[in-house]
Symmetry: C2
Subunit: 221 residues, 2 copies
Amino acid sequence: MMQNSFTEENYLKTIHALSGRDGLDVSTNALAESTATRAASVTDMLKKLADKGLINYKKYQGVTLTTSGEKVALSVIRKHRLWEVFLVEKLGFGWDEVHDIAEELEHIPSDILVEKLDAYLGHPRFDPHGDPIPDAKGNLLDPDYRLLTDIQIGEKVLMMGVLDHAASFLQHLDRSGITLGAVLEVKDINEYDKSASIIVNGDRTIFISLEVSKNLLVQRR
Amino acid sequence: MMQNSFTEENYLKTIHALSGRDGLDVSTNALAESTATRAASVTDMLKKLADKGLINYKKYQGVTLTTSGEKVALSVIRKHRLWEVFLVEKLGFGWDEVHDIAEELEHIPSDILVEKLDAYLGHPRFDPHGDPIPDAKGNLLDPDYRLLTDIQIGEKVLMMGVLDHAASFLQHLDRSGITLGAVLEVKDINEYDKSASIIVNGDRTIFISLEVSKNLLVQRR
DNA sequence: AAAAAAATTTAGGTTTGCCTAAAAATATAT
DNA sequence: ATATATTTTTAGGCAAACCTAAATTTTTTT
Ligand SMILES: [Mn+2]
Ligand SMILES: [Mn+2]
Ligand SMILES: [Mn+2]
Ligand SMILES: [Mn+2]
């Protein structure tokens, strides 16, 4: 059985991300956008992935992952997130610095490496951004967090993850003192622009824009 | 400034290894052999590396690294050896299992990653096979070890490294109890086939063939 | 110093993953 | 339902890294 290339793995991971929890069809254009390539190049790759049995592809109809394609995607995601934990927990990187490095490390192929890394890290269940880490068999939790925009005034929630993974957003959260696991209490919501004042960990009050609220995943306590 | 590809880095590393401590010219055929490619492919790559100023190349005359090429080679070697230390010291791999994985990890580009890894490992000076690790500036120790074949009967030496890095050889040493840092005393050398009996760490006596002696780097105490 | 052998380079192809431009299919608007 | 717009595919090419076969250069032998 031939190995999947770096590029093929990235396509599979992207298809997984774009098809979301419901396994919706992913369009050629969406893939072109996400992979920073042109639609024609995507079509080329889709043919190859279909030939290898990794995706279901009918011309003009979009694609979904096959079972075998999903297995590959989940394995890459597992590696990505485990390496991110390593970079943050062991090497002392910030959560805003690890994505690009993990983007490369995720393609190192050794299964035994992944399992030893997982054990060394203490079998973490979430990565530094709050994203769940698939287990060795490809089981992936779907923790139904909600957006901070759905939380009522007076409610206290735990900060569990981010939707936007951009370094600039994560750095903004750092400056606001909003870290994974922080307790957030919605003190007030501005009618006009939906900006909010939030009490962080019971002491500091900060103001956050709707843009920020829309990207914060939280959980009732 | 364009980045060097995976493949270019491997060629530079191979040229470094083959030119030895004296910086001798490396032949096209030797490179073809070491990189498991054909001579014609090597010629293609040599032209490219010469264009990029990484090697000195005159047709039919063999190649040497330029200062800039050597810098790249040493950086790749540094990464290879640091990752090997990580795999053995932190993840618990055996010294016979890490080479192929490090062969991939050595191409992960981030400078800051390398420096954080180095610090995390406690700035190791040698890799699990006894090979010296270049520092961040590209300074590489040249410890003048000698071969066990050069040691007289009765002499006690420290086991410092291996010439052959093959898993089968390393596993053979494991079975013989010969590890890095072990004290070896040459008890007797067989006239006929130069095989020897050796006392390991002052207790066990083992017999080793010339083939093994030729691949053991040792140091007087 | 030729002739023969070995090493190296050139010539011409292949595959992978990308591109632009043009054609075809699908979706949307009138 | 037709026309228009959008999406997707096809056609034809390019660069990287490899290949085989054929030429060329260097080295070794006679
Ligand atoms: Mn990431
Ligand atoms: Mn992450
Ligand atoms: Mn190695
Ligand atoms: Mn080594």
